[in-house]
């Protein structure tokens, strides 16, 4: 009864048709292919033709970067930190840039000054800068950009970026190269804060709209955008950039979220740079001839101690004891593979106020026990810590190790894991009456995106919306640092505040947050500071 050609194969044919349809949809992808068919001699001397993944074009003037996550958008106001800045800082420019020491340095603005009222700032722009579409970057472009993003709609849409300098009242073009910025309240950090406010080409932005702009962004930096997608961003060097012509012709950012797969992509030559290998992976990459550098993220992992409710943690001797009790160096060596730049020191390298000689509590458990006894807790006590884990390299292990050290001096820490979005943030902000249930929580001493040592004191202080720590003695100093407009005088005050904080620790300072980058040995010249990953300094010897 059976005829030849069983209809069972109909199913296969239907599936095949689907494949063909699906492949057809990917034609656009295929045009960006970077593979080349190469002929290689296999071990047996036999000639085989294989399709080999190529990391870059033949002359290796393309650098492919494997990213752990991609910028949310080509519109540089949809976000403030990494990973957006890693790409945006190559395409766009702001009036200022945070320099290697954390201080704002001239960028599109060659200089700036403050009037006596401390709210009126004058920025003098570099002359002759153009966007890659030829539009001039003048004071009118600066005014238009701030006008767009600081409008009522802009403030809602771009809040993550804007809330760093939302205190700006008005931005006005005085002449072609002079911009006046007036702030609602005096804020000495304005030049740092606007380092993430990238200037947009006004005519193109008006024509393309926010959506069109996000898909095909145009800036004044050394690279222009060839294509911008969620999985791949391609940048091409500009010949006429005011920052000079970069050595690397093409940069390709690839979305490679899996850390192991990212490292394997580097090992297999499919990419040239890999973001965030783990310390273990980094060590094996170094052994295999790759280069690894560590970039501080301006953040120190810490357990914040809640003192406003009284109890043992309100006693400064207890907080000092907890800092003496933990062997930070051992934690750093064991858990960060020695890649973390510092242990227990605040603020981090690359942050304004960093001082490698500032006091760090040495590991001294006897001193810890002594201080605890002095404070009336010779047998220690129990505390509960609410923590989000997994947001910081090896944080779970580091906190676990910390708890072990603290248990040695009689302080038993019970760690309760909480969710960042659902619990940590509402507790921290006190949104809708949310509050901490325990005695401590994880809170890094983070300075981004300002990279100024004062930033955490916005929160570690009596006037914070939902305060957990209040040092009355520090308040006048915090106030002074925030209102002193003379840079040297302010830095001296900041140093005083940081020294005071070292003696009056509000938290248990642990390990420096860092990000590792691995790359092939033929690349050099990476500049790493703040959130910038400018590629104009990178060159290839390959």
């Amino acid at each position: 009864m059976r005829r030849k050609g069983s209809p069972a194969w109909l199913v296969m044919v239907a599936l095949l048709a689907l494949v063909v349809a699906a492949c057809g949809g990917d034609d656009a992808e295929d045009t960006t292919t970077t593979q080349a068919a190469t002929t290689t001699i296999a071990d047996g001397g036999e000639t085989t033709t294989t399709t080999e993944p190529e990391p870059a074009e033949e002359e290796s003037d393309t650098v492919a970067i494997g990213m752990g996550n991609m910028p949310p958008s080509g519109m540089p106001y949809l976000g403030a930190g990494s990973p957006g800045q890693y790409v945006w800082s190559n395409v766009f420019d702001a009036l200022t840039r945070i320099g290697p020491d954390g201080a704002p340095e001239p960028w599109l603005a060659e200089s700036w000054s403050t009037a006596d009222d401390n709210v009126t700032w004058t920025f003098n722009l570099r002359d002759g800068v153009t966007f890659s579409n030829g539009e001039p970057l003048d004071a009118a472009a600066v005014e238009a950009t701030f006008g767009t993003v600081l409008s009522e709609d802009g403030r809602a849409t771009y809040s993550a970026n804007i809330n760093n300098y939302g205190f700006i009242d008005s931005v006005t073009a005085v002449d072609d190269v002079t911009v006046e910025i007036v702030t609602a309240t005096p804020n000495v950090l304005l030049p740092s804060a606007i380092s993430i406010a990238y200037i947009l080409p006004p005519a193109y932005f008006a024509e393309a709209g926010a959506e069109g702009f996000a898909a095909a962004p145009i800036g004044s930096g050394p690279y222009e955008v060839v294509s911008w997608g969620g999985d791949e961003i391609v940048l091409q060097a500009r010949a006429d950039s005011w920052r000079g012509q970069p050595d690397i012709e093409t940069i390709q950012y690839l979305n490679l979220p899996d850390p192991a797969a990212r490292v394997q992509a580097l090992q297999s030559g499919q990419i040239d740079v890999a973001q965030s290998p783990s310390p273990d992976q980094a060590q094996s990459l170094v052994d295999a001839g790759f280069e690894v550098f560590s970039a501080s993220r301006g953040q120190v992992l810490a357990m914040a101690l809640i003192t406003v409710d009284g109890g043992p943690l309100a006693d400064v001797r207890v907080r000092q004891a907890l800092n003496y009790a933990v062997d930070k160096e051992a934690i750093q060596d064991a858990l960060t593979g020695g890649f973390a730049p510092t242990a227990g020191l605040y603020p981090s390298p690359g942050v304004n106020g960093f001082d490698p000689s500032r006091f760090v509590y040495p590991y001294d458990p006897d001193m810890a026990r002594e201080l605890l006894a002095e404070a009336g807790f010779p047998d220690g006590f129990d505390i509960e810590a609410e923590m989000t884990l997994g947001s910081f390299p090896a944080d779970a292990e580091i906190f676990e190790a910390m708890a072990g050290y603290l248990a040695d001096v009689g302080v038993n820490v019970t760690i309760t894991q909480i969710d960042f979005a659902g619990e940590w943030l509402p507790n921290f902000l006190g949104t809708d009456g949310a509050d901490w249930a325990g005695d401590a929580f994880n809170y890094s001493w983070g300075t981004a995106p300002l990279f100024d040592g004062i930033r955490p004191f916005n929160f570690y202080q009596c006037n914070w919306g939902n305060p957990w720590y209040c040092d009355e003695e520090a308040m006048p100093l915090i106030e002074a640092v925030n209102t002193t407009f003379d840079v040297d005088e302010r830095n001296a005050l900041l140093e005083q505040l940081l020294d005071h904080t070292a003696e009056n620790p509000p938290s248990v300072m642990l390990s420096e947050n860092f990000e590792l980058w691995a790359h092939t040995a033929d690349l050099s010249g990476f500049e790493v500071f703040a959130f910038n990953k400018p590629f104009d300094s990178v060159s290839s010897s390959g």
């Binding site: 009864m1 059976r2 069983s6 209809p7 069972a8 109909l10 199913v11 296969m12 239907a14 599936l15 689907l18 494949v19 349809a21 699906a22 492949c23 949809g25 990917d26 992808e29 295929d30 960006t32 593979q35 399709t51 080999e52 993944p53 996550n69 949310p72 958008s73 949809l78 403030r155 809602a156 809040s159 993550a160 809330n163 926010a210 959506e211 996000a214 969620g230 999985d231 690839l254 490679l256 979220p257 899996d258 192991a260 797969a261 394997q264 992509a265 297999s268 030559g269 499919q270 960042f420 979005a421 659902g422 943030l425 509402p426 921290f428 949104t431 983070g446 916005n458 929160f459 919306g465």
Partner: protein, 337 residues
């Protein structure tokens, strides 16, 4: 010894459709009814999942806070909530969401402000491409290996083979993926392991994705082949002097393959869940990779749109299988004759 064969997963018994499929018009009626029933199920499914997800996602956190970070002032929070409509009572937000979703409008991505549905639709072809490649691999390999194993399951090398398949069922897919990358991309530098750039890109991810389901499909095929080998018609064919090849390919496989395809069809949803891991591992620009990122960023609209699209995909494949299985079943056609 045949306990290594998988008899428990003999998938839906296609012979149940027999009575309705005895003639062409009634087959079409049957297919139409099947589709109608499936569509009803789809509507209920998408509606319930979307509802459940809507409330679950809002329990996980306030996206306004995530967008704003630790600098958020109460004014910022209020402004951002108002901008995204998060300041409305939850039940109003829900009805607005359903009303918009009915018109396939899932809103804008909170992270990129792009239209959530278009973001997902853009990525569907890559996911289908990968899934279909994995399905074909599953069917082809299962027929070859399962046929071989089930033809003479009592032979020692096949018992060893079945045991190996059983063991491989316990190996997580991502481990297989990492091994494949290490061998074929890192060591031999033969195949690309990232992205979708040309046909060679699909090889490693599709093998990885296929491995999520393959051991089960092989065991089912082997069991079906073994069962068919004991049927009277096979004994008759052998007695009549038919060669082993004729017995296997004309009499045994057509019966066994139906179950294989049915299992792969029924498990298509499971296969798509494997694409979450596979797409992340191979940076495959599909729906799974996007979903992982959207969940991480609490990008509600994208999560909702993805789930709706995946539900429709799974529905489409199951409907296809429902219709094709009776067509492919020789028993049904013999009744027809």
């Amino acid at each position: 010894m045949t306990d290594q064969l998988d008899r428990t997963e003999s998938a839906p018994n296609p012979s149940g459709f027999g009575a309705d499929s005895s003639s062409e018009p009634s087959f079409l009626r049957f297919a139409g009814r099947q589709l109608g029933r499936r569509f009803g199920q789809l509507v209920i499914l998408v509606f319930s999942i979307s509802t459940l997800l809507f409330f679950l996602l809002r329990v996980t956190g306030d996206p306004a806070l995530v967008l704003l970070g630790d600098l958020a002032t109460p004014e910022d929070i209020a402004r951002t909530r108002a901008f995204y409509g998060l300041d409305q009572p939850l039940i109003i937000q829900y009805f607005l969401f359903i009303w918009q979703a009915l018109r396939l409008n899932f809103g804008r991505s909170l992270a990129s402000l792009d239209d959530a549905m278009s973001m997902v639709i853009d990525r569907v072809p890559a996911t289908i491409y990968l899934a279909v490649a994995a399905v074909i691999l599953n069917v082809v390999v299962a027929i070859l290996v399962g046929g071989w194993l089930g033809y003479r399951p009592e032979r020692p090398e096949r018992r060893a083979g079945l045991f190996a398949v059983l063991v491989s069922q316990g190996v997580p897919g991502f481990v297989i993926g990492l091994i494949l990358i290490q061998v074929f991309a890192v060591h031999f530098r033969l195949l690309p392991s990232i992205g979708n750039r040309g046909w060679t890109s699909v090889i490693l991810p599709s093998v990885t994705l296929a491995s999520f389901l393959l051991p089960r499909v092989i065991r089912l095929t082997a069991a079906n082949v073994d069962d068919a080998m004991r049927e009277d018609y096979v004994r008759t064919a052998r007695a009549a002097g038919a060669s082993a090849g004729t017995v296997l390919f004309r009499h045994v496989m057509p019966n066994a393959v139906v179950g294989t395809i049915a299992l792969v069809g029924v498990q298509f949803g499971f296969l798509l869940s494997g694409s979450l891991i596979t797409e992340t591992l191979f940076a495959w620009p599909g729906v799974g990779l996007q979903l992982i990122e959207a969940v991480r960023a609490l990008d509600f609209p994208v999560v909702q749109a993805t789930v709706a699209v995946v539900a429709v995909l799974v529905f489409a494949v199951q409907a296809l299988v429902d219709i094709l299985i009776p067509l492919a079943d020789p028993r049904l056609r013999s009744q027809r004759a």
